[in-house]
């Protein structure tokens, strides 16, 4: 009997230890990155020059992250602009207009597509999107581009984020009660009017959150974007220019960062930036989702 109680005690302690590990993990990540990047601040770099300066030459101890931040924002925002309406319209079709069997069929398919590794999307980007941008889209706008560009990164990112966002949007529409639609229809509204005035409004928080989480996911996406965006340190002037987003910077230079002073601190500062921004976005939108589900 006592042995059983003992086991129960040990096991529950172990459970608590495991849970604490995960509760502390982000704290540990945050602290670790802060400590590591603090070298950068002690060596006369201010936070504002780090973020807003465009001067990047690690060998001269100049670390201006602005080109990378700008690239990240460009590529993510454009990707979202492309995928947002596509996801919303596709979600509306699948959940409202399409026959039931199609929705039932598409739900797992979308889920599975969301699990395809990003490097595969990257390969597709190199094969299809880069030539498309370089040979078709850029010339169409009287621009010259190698194809490896912000636009290519954004297109790949847009496609990647579709299954992820679409999944969440389908869930949002699934949670709107059928009776609400029936109420609107029985007042003489058409199906589209019902969607426009009732469903989208009812799901507004959920839709917004899906976009927000999609944004944060796209912001942290590394390998696929890195494969098609060109990785040139510059402030991109147009979408046909090459860019160099933050995750790509970190991923590309981890090998040599130990050989240049402060370089490792700078890269960890880059990671910290990503971590803080993405954590903040996640907290805000997850909170919104919980709030809207509570009702």
């Amino acid at each position: 009997m006592t042995k059983r109680i003992l086991i129960d005690n040990i096991s529950s302690k172990w459970m608590l230890v495991c849970l604490s590990f995960f509760l502390l993990l982000p704290l540990a990540i945050g602290t670790g990155l802060v400590l590591k990047s603090s070298d950068l601040f002690t060596s006369h770099h201010s936070l504002s020059t780090l973020i807003f300066s465009a001067d990047w030459s690690p060998s001269e101890d100049k670390f201006g992250f602005w080109p990378f931040i700008l690239s990240s924002l460009w590529v993510t925002v454009i990707a979202l602009i492309i995928s947002m309406p596509l996801c919303l319209l596709a979600a509306i079709y699948l959940s409202q207009f399409a026959p039931k069997w199609l929705l039932e069929f598409m739900r797992p398919v979308i889920d599975i597509l969301a699990g395809i590794p990003s490097v595969v999307y990257g390969v597709w980007g190199v094969l299809v999107i880069v030539p498309l941008v370089g040979d078709v889209i850029a010339p169409f706008f009287n621009n010259e581009s190698l194809g490896y560009s912000i636009l290519a990164g954004a297109l790949v990112l847009a496609v990647m984020s579709i299954p992820y966002i679409l999944n969440m949007l389908l869930e949002v529409f699934r949670q709107v009660p059928v009776e609400l639609g029936e109420a609107s229809l029985s007042l003489g509204a058409t199906k589209w009017e019902t969607i426009k005035h009732v469903f989208i409004r009812k799901g507004a928080t959920g839709i917004l959150s899906a976009y927000g989480l999609g944004f944060s996911k796209a912001l942290g996406e590394t390998i696929a974007v890195m494969m098609v965006i060109g990785n040139v340190v510059q402030e991109p002037a147009s979408v046909f220019d090459a860019g160099y987003p933050l995750p790509a910077l970190i991923a590309n230079n981890y090998g040599e960062m130990m050989s240049i002073p402060s370089y490792d601190s700078a890269l960890m500062f880059g990671s910290l930036l990503l971590f803080v921004i993405i954590l903040a976005i996640n907290i805000v939108f997850r909170y919104l989702i919980y709030k809207s589900e509570e009702k």
Partner: protein
Amino acid sequence: MTLRRKWEEKFFRVLTALVALLVVFVLAHILFTIVSKGASSLSWEILSQEPKGGFYMGGGGGILNAIAGSFYLAIGASILAFVVSLPVALFINIYLIRYHRLLIGVRFFLDVLWGIPSIVYGAFAFTIMIFFGLRNSLGAGIVTVGALIAPIMIRAMDEVLKTIPIGLQEASYSLGSTKTETAYKIFFKQALPGFATAVLLAFGRGIGDAASVLFTAGYTDHVPRNLSDPTATLPLSIFFQLGSPIEEVQNRAYAAAIVLTFIVLCISITARVLYRKK
């Protein structure tokens, strides 16, 4: 109904259908492109051999190093993640079930954890490794990827455990079982098929992740022998080969992409079939 309303309805019915079709088309196009580009380079040699001399210049050999490395890494990470995820998922559903606010808080927190990008995990793990003077290795990769996929696993297990009625728990207590016995004998058994799905989903995520292993697992042309060896992985193998200017090497990258996609698709389809049978 006025003509405008009628047309608006028709217009959006068609528009949304077209967009849905476009989305499906693009996603299908990805699979089609990968398969049609890589199929010709896919051979037994690629699957069964390590890279030979001058592999990245078009020499012979295959990507066995990456296939084996990826499996070792993902299996190791899944086991590790399972060992820590199971207690957490059980704890949430047995000990925290009465504390509603805390329960919501923990779930919320795990969801947030899920959103941290793998590059951050990788960079963090790398600083830890440097701090302790560790080299790139299979072991380091396993720990990093394990931490990356654990939140996914916990939440997936949690979703399964949630569906177990609280009455079952009470019935078990009333027979004199301790909480631990209830957790591992009743809950674990009841949720086993769902757990298999959770593990497979996390495995699929782990095997496809590139950014976290880039820092931690290293890269090598050999199949790793033990945990302290560095290891190649499929995503990185694809990435490096695609960077080569030589067409033959690039083609092998496409073949490797087929292999990776195939593995991931198999896993996620199996996971879903398992869950449906339950």
